[in-house]
């Protein structure tokens, strides 16, 4: 998302250019009028921005500061909180559950990111031809994006139910697995089912972003490469891919940030099991803060997660800046 801020700045036009009143003494009253007009506009500007800003302050900036303070305290839901410095952070460092959850989240991210990327790129190349039929298919591939993770998770939970679910039934008929096998009984197969759901739900989004990147590349460039004797793959690899870099950075950050925040799908489809094998970082924060009501420790884990996410955003900006210079 941070791409925006970088681009917005460039497109800004100074508001005062061309508006300055004449500076001869003869038009002094006019200037005063212009001055009060500008003043009024500024006051009005503050007034129209204020409501949104106040809401964001109360429900974002205040919680953000409170989170940092909470993370330095032993903060139960009821009763007094006590300042303990960086105690929560040292605890997190030695906490095996948190380490497992972090490791699993990284594993999940490492699995979904390439899968989503390949699926999204494949779909984008498929619907790239801009015909009516291509736009029709594009709408279909994008459709699951507007479905929530919760609804999608319940849908796939049914699809993959042992015995009862159509997918397990299909696997049985194809002799891929026996009818009685439960795909949620091992962390690995459960992870694969969740990944299938996420791919179904998110690939369309990646497709759309990549498609817009592809469409911004002039067709002539690729044609020129083809005329020079490059084959389809070579022109893709050496002409399209380098020009696609800003979009690639955006798409990767989208899926990395999304995967690092995974919760709904695991809460619903695996409940963190089997034997806590699919607990993600956000899931662990949820359990710490809202099952054990250890809010201070939960806040410190949130802070750690926030730092990682901010680093991902910063990395994105860095990647984009580099590609702008090339």
């Amino acid at each position: 998302m941070a791409v925006k801020s970088a681009r917005v700045q460039n497109s800004e036009v100074h508001p005062d250019i061309g508006r300055d009143p004449a500076d001869t003494a003869a038009v002094a009253p006019l200037r005063r009028q212009g001055y009060t007009m500008r003043r009024r506009r500024q006051i009005l500007g503050v007034a129209v921005v204020a409501p949104a800003f106040i809401v964001i302050c109360v429900f974002f900036f205040v919680p953000l500061v409170l989170m940092l303070w909470m993370s330095l305290n032993n903060w139960p839901l009821l009763g007094e909180h006590k300042f303990i410095g960086f105690g929560n952070y040292t605890r997190a460092f030695h906490d095996q559950d948190w380490r497992d959850a972090s490791l699993f989240t990284l594993k999940y991210t490492a699995l979904t990111t390439p899968v989503l990327f390949v699926a999204g790129l494949g779909l984008a190349l498929l619907v790239r031809r801009g015909t009516k039929a291509a736009r029709f298919f594009q709408s279909i591939f994008f459709l699951p994006v507007i479905i929530g993770f919760a609804a999608g998770a319940y849908l796939f939970l049914y699809l993959a139910q042992p015995g009862l679910g159509p997918l397990t039934d299909l696997a049985r008929q194809l002799h891929v697995s026996s009818g009685g096998s439960n795909w949620f009984s091992t962390a690995t197969s459960a992870l694969l089912i969740v990944t299938a759901m996420v791919t179904w739900k998110v690939a369309g989004m990646q497709m759309l972003l990549l498609l817009s990147g592809l469409q911004s590349i002039p067709v002539e460039l690729e044609e020129a490469a083809r005329i020079d004797g490059a084959n389809r793959w070579q022109s893709f690899r050496h002409v399209v891919l380098p020009l696609l870099r800003p979009t690639l950075a955006l798409v990767l950050v989208f899926s990395v940030a999304g995967s690092l925040l995974a919760f709904d799908q695991f809460y619903i489809m695996t409940a963190g099991g089997p034997s806590n094998g699919t607990i993600t970082a956000v899931y662990q924060i949820y359990r710490t803060s809202f099952i054990n009501f250890d809010l201070g420790y939960g806040a410190s884990l949130s802070t750690l997660l926030m730092i990682v996410l901010a680093a991902v955003s910063a990395l994105q900006m860095l990647l984009l800046r580099n590609s702008d210079h090339n």
Partner: protein, 284 residues
């Protein structure tokens, strides 16, 4: 020879159609299962192995759904509508005002405020849910639909403000000046002249907010504790939990269908705005 080259030419098109159709079937299949499963008779919905096509259609699952749980299902639908529509209206109103301010009524420091708001993109609300819970508690808004709607509004505002600011910035100043010369006040000029032109941005903002709030699960799960307040995604959770003895997948899929279908209809009607807004927001 010419016959052969005709085949060669049509082969990629044929392959394209085959691949696209197969993938489309793959993408639509889960939705088909959702609808067909919810319309099966309860006995057929529980059948092992499952049937591909319902042998007879029945709305029994939807009937059962409407009185599962301690509160009527309609109450949950109402909760979802109230939260999603409320947050959407609030976001659109606040984002339009602020977007107008940031693009046309600059004041000293307005850029700093704008970038502070944009910076909130970097921190998702999952990360600050713990203190958010405490603050809602302090304000007496814990376990209320108003509190949840305000939280959703907060996290949709940055994107909305960004979109609306761009919509207004794309309009020439002369348009507004003409309205001012005609004797309109600044706000009237905005309402009469600029707003109609900014409608596409407005629809995009509204759609985004609505979809996100309608589907949101994590915050609703944490911030709402009373079953009568639950929104649809959390309600699906109790549908599954209530019937742990014999999980009724027909009723479950009926619940999923009620959650999904409004979004699908909105998407089919307004996808142009949704997709364009997404691209202008994400890529620009």
């Amino acid at each position: 020879m010419s016959h052969l080259s005709a085949i060669r030419r049509s082969l990629p098109t044929g392959a394209w159609w085959t691949a696209s159709t197969c993938l489309a079937v793959l993408f639509l299949y889960p939705l088909y299962v959702m609808v067909s499963q919810s319309l099966k008779k309860p006995s057929e919905a529980a059948q092992v192995p499952p049937t591909m096509f319902p042998h007879g259609l029945s709305i029994q699952n939807y009937r059962t759904l409407s009185h599962t749980g301690s509160v009527s299902f309609l109450q949950h639908v109402t909760n979802s509508v109230v939260v999603a529509v409320g947050a959407t209206l609030a976001t659109v109103l606040l984002a339009t005002l602020a977007g107008y301010g940031f693009s046309k009524l600059r004041f000293p420091g307005s850029n700093v405020v704008f970038f502070a708001i944009l910076a909130t993109f970097m921190i998702p609300f999952q990360a600050i849910i713990t203190p958010l819970y405490s603050i809602l508690h302090t304000l007496g808004l814990q376990n209320t639909l108003l509190g949840l709607a305000l939280v959703y509004t907060t996290f949709q505002l940055p994107f909305g403000i960004f979109l609306m600011r761009n919509s207004f910035a794309a309009l020439p100043d002369s348009l507004e000046e003409a309205a001012l010369i005609d004797g309109c006040g600044i706000l009237k000029a905005m309402y009469r002249v600029l707003l109609p032109v900014a409608v596409p941005g407005l629809i995009t903002t509204a759609l985004f907010t609505f979809f996100t709030c309608w589907n949101e699960f994590f915050a609703a799960l944490i911030l709402l504790t009373d079953e009568s307040k639950f929104t649809l995604p959390v309600t699906l959770n109790i549908l599954a939990a209530n019937s742990l003895g014999g999980l009724n997948w027909g009723v479950m899929q009926a619940g999923v269908a009620v959650t999904v279908i409004p979004c699908v209809i909105l998407y089919l009607l307004l996808q142009r705005y949704y997709v364009n807004g997404l691209l202008s927001g994400a890529v620009k």
